[in-house]
C-alpha cells in the first residue's frame, strides 16, 4: 500500500472510531465501571456478553483512543465477509478480525488468525457465546476459543466485560436504537488455573461474567 493510501486508511479508521464512540455516548450515555480491573494499555482480551451489533461499539467507546487503536473486535466471517461492502465496513472501517466458524482450509483456522493478531501486540474483543444471544437466557454457554487463546498466550489478560441494556436498546430484528443508559462493567482478570480442564475454566469464566451484571432482575 502506498504511503498516501495508508494515511487515508488510518484517518478513515480514526474518524470512524471517534464518530461511533460519540454516537454511542449520545444514544446510551455509555460509561465504564471499573470493578476489579483498571484502564491499561497492556495486551488484553476483553470478553463480553453479546446481544446486539452495537456491543463492540459500546465496549470500545469505554477504552481510550490509544487502546482503541490497537483493539480489534472478533466478528463472524459468515456474516461480515458476505459482500464487499460488509467486508469493507468490518475490516477497513471498524478494523475487526473476521473468523469463520465453519472453516475448512488450515489458513482459516480461527485460533491461528486471532493468535496472529495477538502476536502483533494488539488486543481483542471476543464474544465467547459465539453468536448474538436471542434467547431468554442471560448468557449462553461459552465456546472454547477463550480457553485455547489463554493456553497459547497466557501472558495476555482476560478481562470479563458485562454490557448492560444493549438488548433493550437494539432488540432482535430492529435497526433503530432506543436511547437508554448503558454501562459496561469491567471485572477482574480471569486466568486458567494450573491443570484446569477446558470446560471447568469456560464455566468459571461464564459465571464470572454473569456475576458482573449490576441489575440481573432487569433482564427480560
Amino acid at each position: 500500500m502506498s504511503k498516501l493510501a495508508l494515511k487515508t486508511f488510518t484517518l478513515l479508521q480514526t474518524v470512524t472510531s471517534v464518530g461511533l464512540s460519540a454516537l454511542a455516548w449520545v444514544v446510551t450515555g455509555v460509561r465504564p465501571i471499573w470493578n476489579g480491573s483498571l484502564p491499561s494499555d497492556r495486551q488484553r482480551i476483553y470478553f463480553a456478553n453479546h446481544t446486539s451489533h452495537g456491543d463492540f461499539i459500546l465496549l470500545s467507546a469505554c477504552l481510550s483512543e490509544k487502546e482503541r487503536a490497537i483493539t480489534h473486535a472478533v466478528a463472524a466471517g459468515e456474516y461480515w465477509g458476505k459482500s464487499r461492502l460488509r467486508r469493507f465496513i468490518a475490516e477497513d472501517m471498524l478494523s475487526s478480525v473476521l473468523i469463520n466458524r465453519q472453516w475448512t482450509k488450515p489458513e482459516e483456522n480461527p485460533i491461528e488468525i486471532m493468535l496472529s493478531v495477538l502476536d502483533q501486540g494488539h488486543s481483542l474483543i471476543l464474544f465467547p457465546e459465539g453468536t448474538r444471544n436471542m434467547t431468554e437466557e442471560p448468557l449462553l454457554a461459552f465456546r472454547s476459543g477463550l480457553y485455547n487463546l489463554s493456553m497459547a498466550r497466557p501472558e495476555v489478560e482476560l478481562i470479563p466485560c458485562w454490557i448492560e441494556n444493549m438488548s433493550r436498546v437494539l432488540p432482535k430484528g430492529q435497526f433503530l436504537p432506543v436511547p437508554l443508559l448503558c454501562r459496561v462493567v469491567f471485572g477482574a482478570p480471569v486466568t486458567v488455573a494450573p491443570g484446569e480442564e477446558r470446560r471447568a475454566f469456560l464455566d468459571r469464566a461464564h459465571a464470572t461474567l454473569l456475576a458482573l451484571n449490576p441489575r440481573p432482575e432487569r433482564d427480560d
Binding site: 450515555g29 460509561r31 441494556n165 433493550r168 432488540p171 432482535k172 430492529q174 433503530l176 432506543v178 436511547p179 437508554l180 443508559l181 454501562r183 432487569r218 427480560d220
Partner: protein
C-alpha cells in the same frame, strides 16, 4: 432586559465563586483524606459552574437556545426514566416514538405557541394512542405496568419540562419582550431552594421529613429552604411582573411543588432500587436528580402566571 439578565448572571457567578472559595477553605482545613460529603460538595459546585455556564449560553441565544436546551433536558430525563422502567421487546416502537416523535412535536408546539394543542397533546392524544399501539402488538405481559410507566415517563420528562420554555409564549401586559426573565426567576428560586434546603439540612437537620422515602430530607431543611427561597424570590421581584410580596408567594408555591417533586422522584428511585437516576452530572447523579424539582414547579408556575398575569 439585557441589563437585568446581566445582573442575574453576575449575581450567580458571585454566589458560585463564594461557594468555591468556601469549599476550598473547608477542604484545606479538613483532615485528609477528605470526607465523602466534602468531596461531593466540591463536585456539586463544579457541576453548578458547568450548568450555569450552559444556561448562560442558552439565554444568550434567547428563544432558540432555551427551546433547544430544554428539549435536550427532556431527552436526557426521558432516557433516564425509561431505563429504570420495565420494557419489553414489543415496546420498541412506542419507545422510539417517545424520543423521535413526542419530544420534537411537543417542543415544536412550544415554538409555535400553539397553546391549545400544547396542553393536551400528551395528556390526551399520547395517553390514548400509546397504550393502543402497545395493545396492537399483542403482548399483554405486565401490560398495565408498562403503559403506566410509559405515560408517566412522557408526562414527567417531556410535558412538565416543556412548560419552562413555554413561559416565553405568555403575553403579560407591560412585560413584553422580557419573558426570558420569568424562566430565569423560576430556575433561580427553585434550584436555589434545593441548594438552600441542602445547606439548612446539613447545618440544622434533625427531624426526618419522610424516613421511608428520603432519609436526606429534614423538616429543618424544608422550612429553612422554603423561607429563604421565598425571600430570594422577593429580592428578585425587580426582574418579574410581580410585586415583592407576590414574588415571595409565587416562589413559595413553586418551591413547595419543587420539594414535592423531589419527594416523588425519591419514591420512584426507592421503588426501583436505585440511588440516582443516572450518571450524567458528576456529584449530582443524573439529569432527573437535578430537574425533579423544576419538573413539578414549572407547570404550576406557568399556570399561575397565565391565570393571574395574562389577559
Amino acid at each position: 432586559m439585557r441589563h437585568d439578565i446581566s445582573i442575574l448572571i453576575i449575581g450567580l457567578f458571585a454566589v458560585l465563586t463564594t461557594a468555591s472559595i468556601v469549599a476550598a477553605i473547608l477542604s484545606a482545613r479538613a483532615p485528609k483524606p477528605l470526607s465523602s460529603t466534602l468531596v461531593n460538595l466540591t463536585q456539586r459546585i463544579n457541576a453548578w459552574w458547568v450548568m450555569v455556564a450552559l444556561m448562560t449560553v442558552a439565554f444568550f441565544f434567547g428563544r432558540y437556545g432555551l427551546t433547544i436546551l430544554f428539549a435536550l433536558i427532556s431527552f436526557a430525563s426521558l432516557r433516564e426514566f425509561v431505563t429504570l422502567t420495565h420494557t419489553r421487546r414489543s415496546d420498541h416502537w412506542v419507545l422510539l416514538g417517545m424520543f423521535g416523535i413526542i419530544i420534537p412535536f411537543q417542543y415544536w408546539l412550544v415554538w409555535t405557541a400553539w397553546y391549545g394543542l400544547f396542553v393536551i397533546f400528551i395528556p390526551v392524544y399520547c395517553f390514548l394512542l400509546m397504550p393502543a399501539i402497545t395493545a396492537l402488538h399483542g403482548d399483554t405481559e405486565r401490560f398495565l405496568e408498562r403503559i403506566a410507566a410509559q405515560q408517566w415517563a412522557v408526562m414527567i420528562s417531556v410535558y412538565c419540562v416543556s412548560h419552562v420554555p413555554a413561559l416565553l409564549t405568555l403575553e403579560v401586559p407591560g412585560f413584553e419582550g422580557r419573558n426570558l426573565l420569568l424562566i430565569a426567576f423560576l430556575i433561580i428560586v427553585v434550584q436555589g431552594s434545593d441548594v438552600l434546603q441542602y445547606i439548612f439540612g446539613k447545618l440544622f437537620g434533625k427531624h426526618r421529613f419522610s424516613p421511608t422515602v428520603s432519609p436526606s430530607k429534614t423538616w429543618e431543611g424544608l422550612i429553612g429552604g422554603l423561607v429563604s427561597a421565598s425571600l430570594l424570590g422577593a429580592l428578585l421581584s425587580f426582574v418579574t411582573p410581580f410585586s415583592p410580596l407576590q414574588a415571595a408567594c409565587v416562589a413559595f408555591v413553586a418551591c413547595s411543588m419543587g420539594f414535592l417533586g423531589g419527594l416523588v422522584a425519591s419514591a420512584i428511585k426507592r421503588d426501583q432500587g436505585v440511588k440516582d437516576w443516572g450518571h450524567l452530572i458528576e456529584g449530582h447523579g443524573g439529569m432527573m436528580d437535578r430537574t425533579d424539582s423544576l419538573i413539578f414547579a414549572a407547570p404550576i408556575f406557568f399556570h399561575i402566571v397565565r391565570y393571574f398575569w395574562t389577559v
